[in-house]
Structures are given as structure tokens and as C-alpha cells.
Symmetry: none
Subunit: 200 residues, 2 copies
DNA sequence: GCCTCCACCTGAGCC
DNA sequence: TGGCTCAGGTGGAGG
């Protein structure tokens, strides 16, 4: 199998420090496979990463047996960040939703990397079937959001069936700083922000 | 099994037109089993109908095997309204809530029948183990709701974490008829309705 | 009792 | 339009 280098028990050595001096040093060529901007669900309590089908079938093909098997397979990734960790994920196909998912082991990655919605995980491969995983923060994670970006974020995080129109009348003035309270979230508005008419 | 007449795959023929001319014509005697006034949850996004335990155990008993099995069983109902549809529902026991529920297939019924909170679904059985389902609107379903009743209805149907204040400014005047749009729902207001200050 | 994991399920949105 | 994808859910088992 080209994708999974080893199938091992979960309990032993979840992470191993790899010595840099082994075969295949740091200068190796790595092929970028794909990346995904993770959704709130990908980093939330569902403890799973949905792998977009196009990439899953191209880079992590499951044989017919593994596709129908509930066990799926195990994918081992080296940490591209250089820490040397090895991440072992269970990878399988959910026939009910017809989607490919990384499940067991994923929540640990999310926690250890402090992965948040909007961050990007990227997948590469090197020689000898070695797989690498990396992640990076989204650019605006700690800066204040523009009202439009905040609206997009709220739109992404609110329940899908909600439809709400907010207009200038909802804007609250306090202490010279304009604040829009939406679903319990106080949004600071820049002073130069014009009148809002957000259609979420 | 007395309850389920057939267990079939979901993918094939979710609804079938039944010929009226088969065995057991329209004049057959049907025994009324029970009915339920459906709650907001029964017609909401939970996609399930809670079957009152007393009726469930009397009319739709699950054997010990099916009770513990996650699969439950499948109940097939003919449409008592005469349309000839067959409704297939997954029926199972949720041990966590110790309740009997109809899950898969229910949301389709809710949608197709435009079932709303307060409506009544009734269950009957005929000869040969045939099951029938029917529903009827609650008496006031088509009349306009008072703002207070509308607020209560919205409060019951919105997600519990939502906190929204709506005031008169949200009221839209159009064609002489006042309309309050809340979460995508247009509420017709009576002409004599005073200024609104609903705290949901 | 909580957390993880598993096998389902559905609606929205996109093509 | 219909089909497909996938984000966001569920209950239950097990540690």
C-alpha cells in the first residue's frame, strides 16, 4: 500500500522522537499534495477531519476491502514542522455520508497544535512513501476583525437555518466606541466604519 | 413480527404508489391505536418523533434483541389520507433517554405533510398487520397568531443559546399589512397590535 | 462522568 | 433541475 507505511497498535508510542540523522535528511524533496482550511467541525467535538473526496481518492486511495471495512487503515505522518513527531491517524470511509474521514488520533493533533477553525493543514509526501503533515494559523487570528469579516465568521459559525437581518438600529453607542452585539457576541467597530446593513 | 411488515433497503422505492385494487380494499375496518399532538421538537431539526412509552410498548413492542440493537427495526405505514404513499420509518429505543423514537424517514414525512407543532398524528392498524398513519392540522393553524403567541412559538423553536431582542424598529410596513420578519419567518400582525417590544 | 471514537443521518449548497 | 459533497449533527459503546 502506498499510503500507509505501518499499521501499529495505538497504545504504544503514539509519538516518537525521530533523529535527524537517519536516512533521508532534511534536504529531501517533498511533493505538496493538498491542504484544507479546517472548519469548526474539523476542530470541534466531532473529533474527525473530513478529507475532501477529490484529494482522498487521489492521494489516500482505499482499496475496496478497506473501503467496506469499518476498520479502514492507518496513516502515519511525520511532523513537517521539524519537531520530529509522528502522527498516527485512523483513516476510513463513511458510507453513510459517502465521505473520507480521519478519526482516531485527530483530536490529539488538534489539541497539541492548538488548531482552530480557519487554520490550514497541509499534506505532503517525500520519498519512500513518507508522509508529512503541517499546519499554519489563519492570518487574522488575533487581530480585530472588520465588520464584514466578522459577519462572515458569524455566518460560518451560526446554525445554518438562521436567517437574520441586522441594521444600523442594532448598533449600540457606548463610551465613544461603537459596538454591535450579535448573538451574544460584542463586535467592536472601527470608528470609520460606515453605517452597517449586514445581510448575514 | 407483528409490527413491521417488511425490512427493505432505503435506497429503493422510498415511496411506492399502491394500487387500490389489491387485497384489503378501502372499506376495510381499521383499529385506532393512538395519536400524538406533535411537539416543536417532533417537527424540528431533531428529525425524530418520540413515541409515548405507553403506546410504544403496547403497539410497537421491540424485542430484547431489537431494543439493544442500534438498528432497531423498520415500521411501514400506509398513508391513511388515501394518497397511497408508503412511509418507512426507522423505529428504535434510545436507552440514554429511555424513549422510543421514530428517526429515519420522519423528517420526510414532516416536510411532505407540512406538519407543524400542535398538529396531530394518528396511528391505526388494519388486517394482516397493515399500519396506517394520518395527520391533521391543529384547529388554529391557518389563522394569524397573536404577537405573544408568536413570541412563545419562536422561543420554543429557536436554539436555546440564542438571545435576541426585537423591537418596533424591526417591524416592516408593507401594503398596509404589518409584518415582522424573525429568523426568516414572516409573521402577520393584526392591525390593532400595539407597538411591540418582545423580549424572547 | 467525561472524553474519544464509531457508525449512522440530514440539509444546504454547489455544480 | 437533480445529484453529489460535506458541514454539522445524533446515540451508543468503551475506556
Amino acid at each position: 500500500m502506498a499510503v500507509s507505511t505501518a499499521i501499529v497498535g495505538w497504545e504504544s508510542s503514539r509519538r516518537e522522537k525521530l533523529q535527524g540523522g537517519g536516512h533521508g535528511g532534511g534536504g529531501e524533496r517533498r511533493e505538496h499534495m493538498f491542504e484544507k482550511v479546517v472548519t469548526p467541525s474539523d476542530v470541534g467535538k466531532l473529533n474527525r477531519l473530513v478529507v475532501p473526496k477529490q484529494y482522498a481518492e487521489k492521494y489516500f486511495p482505499l482499496g475496496a476491502a478497506a473501503r467496506s471495512s469499518p476498520a479502514g487503515t492507518v496513516l502515519c505522518f511525520e511532523d513537517a514542522g521539524g519537531g520530529g513527531e509522528t502522527w498516527r491517524f485512523r483513516y476510513s470511509y463513511w458510507s453513510s455520508s459517502q465521505s473520507y474521514v480521519i478519526t482516531k488520533g485527530w483530536s490529539r493533533f488538534v489539541r497539541d497544535k492548538r488548531l482552530a477553525a480557519g487554520d490550514t493543514v497541509s499534506f505532503c509526501r517525500g520519498s519512500g512513501g513518507r508522509l508529512f503533515i503541517d499546519c499554519r494559523r489563519r492570518a487574522d487570528s488575533s487581530t480585530s476583525l472588520s465588520p464584514v469579516a466578522a459577519a462572515a465568521l458569524i455566518k460560518a459559525q451560526r446554525p445554518p437555518s438562521m436567517s437574520v437581518v441586522v441594521d444600523e438600529k442594532e448598533v449600540v453607542h457606548g463610551g465613544g466606541r461603537r459596538c454591535l452585539r450579535l448573538f451574544g457576541v460584542d463586535l467592536q467597530l472601527r470608528a470609520e466604519t460606515p453605517a452597517l446593513d449586514l445581510q448575514l
